[in-house]
Assembly symmetry: C2
């Protein structure tokens, strides 16, 4: 018999971090990035206009105001993606669109709202100052800047940042496949007639839902009979998964059966019962890199055991480094200021996020997720055993 | 100009709650159920054994203990789903499995661990008391009991409860389809060559990720040129969605263009600017039951506007009644005690869940989700406008 804390330690020690797969950035949402993201170019790559307006020389605008407008000759146009060949001199202007390259000679963009165009000339009624209206090369990001580090969780903010860097795909830790099976001749499933007089294997579905919420892919293998050969065959099938969960079959006779079936497959048993109720008859072992959990059949005990033992392992497998599933605001880009950083810094300020950061410091032995079933403070059982 | 609070009120008033669709229970996870779930039978339907053991008459066990065992004759077997015809008399026992029907005459189940079987007899070393080891008809649930009410959010707990009631499918509010398009000749997308010299339409992807996190299905329509005909065509296409979001095109000239294109499609404009920065140039209108949002092009302003204006609408559309996306522990089944209620009551006790319940009372005008971008407390802009 080992206590809850020791059991969690044993499980995490045996749990591998899974390898990476390349996915489209929207599929990476809420997953853990498995590569550093570095800017391969300055952003923007050149000096561009931040608005629709007119690119001019600062020297053309001295003293200009609403009451002292200036009239400049238009010598060309610079829409986004189509550089303008003209060189802007004193008294000249180039019509420019948001994102358009600032033409040679120009050092200022007057926004369209402060101009009137007509007859090949533009009248400007304001001087925004040298560099006004321009996003300079590297303003948002310098080539080589690390924007995201491996191990961070992708939120919508990071999705936007990856897109702005033209990263269509990104490496994330792959999702563990979790094979789930219920043992017991007394159980039936949806594909059987409801008149069987047997109880539904509801644990299968509750566990599958918990696996999904932990970032894993459930593989519902169904019910396996109380029969050694059937259990061995099903468990052997299940070895294609990263994690195997059996529910039920931990009463005396059946327990021996599950034990025997696992032994025949060469399980390295790490522990086979723990000092905590409900959840006492819990098995944990490994076959190679596969994790095998044998949970009790009682629905609430099963769900609690999942939260306490399996969820931390799934989080580790998917690259989470502190047992915190939901996270946000990981963007490591102090210079991406006019795009995404502003949102990031908002997050740093608000209370909700601070809670998150505190939560991230809760050790793995603690409560890992604010949702889902958790331990009772009244019964003094699982929870009491953990402290 | 209207303030943030009034804008949110106008949006929610114009937002319909979407109809329902039938989905497998695992696909219903974190969605809002659109039907009451009532028990159509008692659960269990008959008196069944809660364990593997022997069904006996209480009168056979008077005075039985480890030091005073009793020897009973085995007259039959009752596995789950296969009723045993025998009637149990004094001095007799029926071998019974978990879930097996308690045979006529028996009123107690002695668990297998407290017995020894041999030669057609079983020796019992304990008396669990009358009714011990039995789950009586209707113990967990009575026919007609309401287990889940329309409007509640499906967590793994509810998935398990639905499975135990043999509900393979359940009605939930359907997911809104959110068409997202970016306007601007200065933008490019992943399917274009990266050498275009144009900026990536990163807003498309950030907004799609936000829509996904709000329980909606994004429909990324891409970039639409700054051209009235192109905008009208694209927006007309987008009307197949429930919600249309345009990003960008709210500077003077472009703003007029989006306005004109929407006017040509018969938009009923609800407001076209709000008193809050960033996010000032925000358009909201309706075409029939379609909601149309025109957001500014600046990435952080766009994401903030989504959280403030669109997310509450999406939550309402998907049936959430209090603007709270994540919820748990809704199981309305005080009698489902030996199965799922125990987990539910745990949830009621623990601190994390109490936070949730408090959060659910935050009015829609407040912050709706602890994750994702939110308003800045320093700039005094969006947030200041809302209070």
């Amino acid at each position: 018999m080992i206590d809850l804390h020791e059991a969690q330690r044993v499980i995490l020690q045996a749990t591998p971090v899974l390898g990476r797969e390349s996915v489209p950035i929207l599929d990476a949402l809420r997953r853990v990035i498995a590569q550093d993201i570095t800017a391969v170019d300055d952003l923007p790559e050149s000096d561009i206009s931040a608005m629709d307006g007119y690119a001019v020389r600062q020297t053309s605008l001295y003293g200009v105001s609403r009451h002292n407008p200036v009239r400049l000759r238009i010598i060309g146009e610079s829409p986004a993606g189509k550089p303008c060949g003209a060189i802007v001199g004193d008294g000249e202007a180039v019509r420019i669109m948001t994102g358009g390259l600032v033409p040679e000679g120009a050092d200022t963009v007057v926004k369209i709202e402060e101009t009137t165009e007509g007859g090949g000339y533009v009248i400007c009624t304001n001087n925004p100052g040298r560099g006004g209206g321009i996003r300079f090369k590297g303003d948002s990001l310098k080539k080589g800047d690390v924007v995201l580090r491996a191990g961070e969780v992708i939120s919508p903010l990071e999705v936007g940042a990856l897109a702005s860097l033209r990263r269509a795909y990104v490496y994330v830790h792959r999702k563990p496949i979790v094979a789930i099976l219920s043992t017991g001749d007394e159980l039936s499933d949806f594909h059987e007639p409801s008149s069987s007089g047997k109880a539904m294997c509801s644990n299968l579905y509750a566990l599958a839902a918990q696996a999904m919420e932990s970032g894993a892919k459930p593989l519902c293998l169904g019910i396996v009979q109380d029969n050694l050969q059937a259990q061995q065959t099903m468990l052997h099938e299940a070895l294609r998964a990263d994690v195997i969960i059996t529910s039920g079959g931990t009463s005396r006779g059946k327990y021996d059966l599950v034990h025997k079936a696992l032994a025949a497959l060469g399980i390295q048993m790490r522990f086979s019962t723990i000092f905590a109720k409900p959840g006492k008859p819990t098995i944990f072992g490994t076959i190679g890199r596969n994790l095998i959990f044998g949970l009790p059949g009682n629905p609430s005990a099963t769900m609690l055991s999942f939260e306490q033992f399996i969820k931390p392992a799934l989080l580790k497998m998917t690259g989470h480094q502190n047992g915190l599933y939901c996270s946000t605001g990981n963007l490591n880009a102090p210079k991406l200021k006019d795009a995404f950083l502003s949102v990031d810094s908002f997050n740093h300020e608000q209370g909700g996020n601070k809670e998150h950061r505190r939560a991230s410091q809760v050790p793995l032995g603690g409560r890992l997720h604010r949702q889902g079933p958790a331990v009772d403070s009244n019964t003094g059982l699982l929870k009491a055993a953990s402290h």
